[in-house]
């Protein structure tokens, strides 16, 4: 029970203000969106395909990049190598870059003059204005969330469990798949969800790489700039509802796994 002394009161007021700051605009948007408008938007084929595109492209980007990101996270948690801090800094770089600048960088990389663009061109594929380009832009800005969370998860797995598995005759890959990965699973899933959510909400980098096909944030911006606030609101509300639904669903799936308390390694 919190006691009502002046300090607690100040904490309460300040905390409430911050929460209000987050909730008030969202609540205002929901209140100002009528049921009829929302229903019309739900049935709008353009909105439907845009939200679907956002979801599957972000999920695919997260899923594919997890194959490289998770092993990298394990390396960062378990191995010491030259320039490790630099590697860690590079991983965090997309978080601090302005996202439009990230979009420009990606565009240079995937345009016909860039390395990836040239390679894709050989197969008759253009990455600009293509879901593959969107996926790359989403992954670029969101992959730090997966790597950092997975790295923390691997670091929390006591090394003695991995050593015990090795001493029982397991190969390094067997140890990774039977001990490290299952025990870091929660953190990996949290990172996965964060990367997916961050990719889904990306606008700045994506709009430079691909205005079309339109992902939901670009569609909302387009409706706002062409028709105004009233017209952009229902699409925003719908996208938020669906994003929240997916977020909650993934969270529920990931926490269904039994919680395991990991006792850290004793100091010797």
């Amino acid at each position: 029970m919190v006691k009502y002394n002046p300090f607690n009161l100040i904490l309460l007021v300040l905390s409430s203000l911050v929460l209000m700051f987050i909730l008030a605009p969202l609540a205002g948007m929901f209140i100002h969106t009528g049921g009829t408008e929302l229903l019309e938007t739900v049935n709008d084929k353009e909105v439907q395909s845009s939200i679907w595109l956002t979801l599957w492209v972000s999920f695919s980007a997260t899923f594919l990049f997890a194959f490289g990101g998770i092993p990298l996270a394990w390396l960062l948690a378990r191995r010491n190598f030259p320039l490790k801090s630099l590697v860690q800094g590079i991983i965090d770089l997309p978080i601090v870059l302005p996202h439009t600048a990230a979009g420009i960088a990606i565009l240079g990389f995937i345009s016909r003059d860039g390395f990836l663009g040239k390679t894709a061109d050989i197969f008759g594929l253009s990455l600009i204005n293509n879901p593959a380009g969107i996926a790359l832009a989403m992954a670029f800005v969101s992959i730090p969330f997966l790597i950092n969370s997975a790295r923390d998860g691997f670091a929390a797995v006591p090394e003695r469990l991995e050593k015990a598995a090795l001493s029982l005759g397991a190969s390094h890959s067997k140890v990774f798949f039977s001990i490290s990965l299952p025990l870091a699973w929660r953190s990996i899933m949290t990172g996965f969800i964060m990367m997916f959510a961050r990719g889904m909400s990306e606008f700045g980098a994506v709009v430079i790489v691909a205005y079309h096909p339109m992902i939901a944030p670009v569609l909302i911006y387009e409706r706002f700039s062409s028709f105004g606030l009233k017209y952009a609101r229902p699409a925003s509300v719908l996208f938020i509802i669906i994003a929240l639904g997916v977020f909650i669903l993934l969270r529920l799936i990931s926490v269904r796994k039994k919680e395991i308390n990991l006792i850290p390694d004793a100091e010797t």
Binding site: P158, R160, L161, K163, A164, A165, L166, S167, L168, G169, A170, S171, K174, S178, I179, P182, L183, K258, I260, N261, L262, I263, A266, E267, T268
Partner: protein, 352 residues
């Protein structure tokens, strides 16, 4: 069986050096040392989890220094057991068999056999979160023994177990040793070493400072560190001299002890085990004994019964049983006599 030749390993500021150990098949070797003495590092080096900077590890006349950990056939039971929390007891025990891709029938058979041997058959389908320390220890042992290791390494195996369960686990270790399994057991507890070891190696600051049978190590410690480790509290800085043909030792406090004739340095440290000294209400008259009059300063309960601190010109710590304590009817500030045989004094050489 196991031979360590001139092992050297630098770990940050800490160094394991000049480690030479030779363990015969069937021995129960206890590596005794405080935390930070390097005993766990040495064990991990034998198991193959770490590599030595120089030196060799030989097992059954085979140089295994550079052999992969998976191929060494050495079983290691970790401190706090290192049980895999994402598997059942069965999954833990069967882990090494799954690594060797044994068929399901053989796995079941082997797991049931070893679980029966260690009385944990009833736990096989349980997850490990709610098991007691003793149960976890047995699971860890079963998981290691199922690999039929040539050598069993135990890292502080009794450190996290309730006192009431320790005897049962010790019995299991003794039985395994009697069956012919060579054991290297690491501990910081000298009582554990005395009760289990056929041979003890005392490790301090990365060096083996004494090796021998428990009797030898605790009755004739090579230095003050080992003596303190063995629970000895009576240390006297003395000068040795001959008086009328008999060796004697004089303390700084001028108390003079009679010694058995031997070769002594001019000065050194004389130590007395607390249980080698007796307390009397009257003056004891015994030949070849030392006896002094003193005052009891403090009486504290101890593992042996009572620890009595007597000031007889020097401070003596004496262990007596509860029965003797009752018979003597002594209390703090009582006047008493203390005695100990002339051969009870252990002389430590060097300046220490």
């Amino acid at each position: 069986m196991l031979r360590l030749n001139n092992i050297f390993k630098k770990l940050g500021d800490f160094t394991l050096s000049d480690i030479n150990i030779n363990i015969s098949a069937g021995e129960y070797y206890v590596l005794l040392g405080r935390s930070g003495s390097g005993k766990t590092q040495l064990l991990e080096l034998i198991a193959g989890l770490n590599e030595a900077d120089s030196g060799e590890v030989w097992l059954d006349n085979e140089n295994i220094t550079n052999k992969k950990i998976q191929e060494r056939n050495i079983g290691l039971v970790f401190q706090d057991y290192a049980i895999f929390p994402n598997m059942t007891v069965f999954g833990n025990i069967a882990y090494s068999l799954h690594c060797r891709k044994l068929d399901k029938k053989s796995v079941n058979q082997k797991v049931n056999d070893v679980a029966g041997e260690l009385n944990i058959s009833h736990l096989l389908n349980r997850y490990t979160q709610n098991l007691s320390g003793g149960e976890l220890q047995r699971v860890a042992l079963a998981r290691t023994l199922i690999t039929s290791p040539k050598l069993l390494l135990l890292d502080e195996p009794l450190a996290s177990i309730d006192a009431s369960l320790k005897d049962g686990i010790k019995r299991t270790f003794r039985q395994l040793n009697r069956k012919g399994i060579t054991i290297v057991h690491v501990t910081h507890d000298y009582r554990e070493a005395v009760s289990l070891a056929t041979r003890i190696g005392v490790i301090h600051n990365g060096h083996i400072i004494q090796e021998g049978t428990p009797e030898m190590v605790f009755k004739k410690p090579v230095n003050k560190f080992v003596a303190r480790y063995a629970g000895i509290k009576n240390f006297f800085r003395v000068k040795f001299f001959i008086d009328r043909g008999s060796w004697k030792a004089q303390c700084d406090g001028k108390l003079v002890f009679n010694l058995v004739n031997d070769d002594y340095p001019s000065e050194g440290l004389l130590i007395l085990r607390s249980d080698a000294i007796s307390i009397h209400n009257g003056e004891p008259v015994k030949e070849n004994y030392n006896y002094f009059r003193g005052v009891i300063k403090e009486i504290l309960p101890s593992e042996a019964g009572m620890e009595v601190m007597v000031d007889a010109g020097e401070i003596f710590f004496i262990d007596i049983s509860q029965d003797d304590f009752k018979k003597l009817n002594i209390r703090e500030m009582s006047d008493v006599w203390i005695s100990f045989p002339a051969e009870a004094g252990i002389v430590l050489e060097g300046s220490i």
